[in-house]
Amino acid sequence: MAKMEEKKFLDLYNENVAKIYRFIYFRVASEEIAQDLTSEVFLKAWQYINKPEIVFGLSLGALKQDKQLKNPRAFFYQIARNLVVDFYRQKDKAPISLDEITDKAIADKSESLIEKTDKSLEMDFIKQAMIQLSEDYQEVIVWRYLDELSIKEIAVILDKSEGAVRVVLSRALSCLKEVMKKKSIS
């Protein structure tokens, strides 16, 4: 029985590790820190599933009620969010914006140099626009379009209604469009 649970959890790790890593990486802009925090996310999640009482300092909000963990992905994101907040609180640092993310993370080895440069320029443009958005807007855009979370899943993580999430997402996109328009004019 315990082995089955372990196997299921490791399958969840396989499915989510890249997404959680990317989510954290956008916030901390360091490969090493993102790796450390990502492994901590899964360790804490496992501890919570196994022995919820020993996971101190985790404010899991609405998820805490859901002992069956019907939405593990949302659960991982919630832990990741808390860990990033804790990280900056402990280090007494200001959150790092997307601006500080280096291009070394772009790891598509199959492309030619020209394709890479084009993609890199385009990425840089979108990245520059994204950094001008508020954290809330950045977060919903990353979840919806990079991690492909459903509106329902985002609503669970943010502890908001689906309608509220749709509104935030729509505003975030409009804001991003506006920023990009201004940037391209300037």
Binding site: V17, F26, A34
Partner: protein
């Protein structure tokens, strides 16, 4: 700018991904931690074991105490993960570390980003399963243990071959690298090796075990054959050496012909031993094997015309018909054998009864 266009641009940021080696090592650490926690909880239940483990505390020599503690911590904390990983990589089915080995292998595939890497890894894994199968078959274990372990390996093989087959692209894309063709070639060769190994396993296994596992073994052999054919198809559509592809198709034609002979023998055996009610079935089987032979001849003609894809399509049809023919022949033989066994048992029972009766009658006299 349209929303759709904007979303496409946002999606470019998806290229940010973690290092593959880190993902594997992190997973291994997580698995190791889970295992240790599980073992710890078992250990906690057994106070006696715990006392034994820490009995050195009762020893008055503090130097010994320190050395022992250090050694214990070093072994558990530092060596544990490496030992587990090493032990798992060399484990065989039936051992506690085997599921970890399989999980680690699957994790490697999951975190590989390119199709060619995924196929290469599947080929490596298939090779390991073949070795495991050979080790299990050659071991001195009981038949029951052997068949259980063969079942585990064969199930893994089935899953891996099916995944590899799905991973092979349907259509060759010019952008696809030479590496992809190499990966497809290796996978195809491994799938062929699986077919040969399974045929050998079938020969070695005793009749009753073989009969129990027959469906499973046939299913894997079928998947292996399909994977191998798909790999050749992919190579034929790519810019691979035409001679190499032709040689591979020829080899498959020969294999199919050999299989026709084996199935023919089976049909012959079933005709010799079966009762009159089975004769219509054997007639159908003979008809089907003749159809297979015609299709194989057609495949040869297609190859003479340099039409590789038509040859492969014809071979696929031939293999499908042959597999179903073999299954029916196997069922006829199994049915005839079980009827013969029952008849033997009955006659043996009658003989015993008559002996007992004769004995009691002579006693009465």
């Amino acid at each position: 700018m349209q929303d759709k266009e904007l979303i496409q641009k946002i999606k470019l940021l998806k290229n940010i991904s973690p290092n593959e080696n880190w993902v594997i090592s992190c997973r291994s650490k997580l698995a190791f931690r889970m295992e240790m926690e599980r073992k710890q909880s078992i250990l906690n239940k057994d106070l006696f074991t715990l006392k034994e483990l820490f009995s050195f505390w009762q020893n008055p020599q503090s130097v010994f105490k320190a050395v022992y503690s250090f050694a214990l911590i070093a072994v558990v904390v530092l060596g544990g993960g490496v030992l587990t990983a090493f032990g798992a990589m060399n484990s065989l089915p039936g051992t506690p570390l085997y599921p970890i080995k399989i999980a680690m292998e699957k994790a490697r595939v999951v975190v590989s980003f390119s199709s060619e890497n995924k196929i290469k890894l599947q080929a490596e894994m298939t090779d390991r399963r073949i070795q495991e199968l050979n080790t299990v078959v050659g071991s001195q274990e009981s038949l029951e243990q052997k068949s259980e372990k063969i079942g585990v390996v064969v199930s893994q093989l089935q899953e891996q071959l099916a995944t590899a087959k799905n991973e092979l692209p349907e259509v060759f894309n010019v952008k696809e690298s030479k590496k992809m063709v190499d990966a497809a070639r290796t996978m195809g060769e491994k799938a062929e090796q699986v077919e040969k190994t399974l045929a050998r396993v079938k020969e070695i296994l005793p009749q009753d075990v073989k009969q129990n596992m027959s469906d499973k073994l046939s299913a894997v052999a079928e998947t292996a054959s399909k994977t191998s054919t798909k790999a050749i198809e992919f190579m034929a559509n790519s810019e691979s050496d035409k001679k190499e592809v032709a040689a591979k198709v020829e080899s498959r034609i020969q294999q199919t012909e050999e299989k026709i002979k084996i199935v023919g023998q089976k049909i012959g055996n079933s005709t010799a031993t079966s009762t009159s009610d089975k004769l219509p079935i054997t007639a159908v089987l003979i008809d089907q094997s003749e159809k297979v032979q015609k299709l194989v001849d057609e495949a040869r003609i297609n190859m003479d015309k340099n039409d590789v894809s038509a040859a492969l399509e014809t071979l696929k049809a031939a293999t499908e018909i042959m597999n179903s023919t073999e299954k029916i022949a196997d069922n006829v033989i199994a049915d005839t054998n079980s009827k013969a066994d029952n008849a033997n048992k009955e006659s043996a029972g009658n003989a015993t009864t008559s002996t007992v009766q004769t004995g009691s009658e002579s006693g009465e006299k």
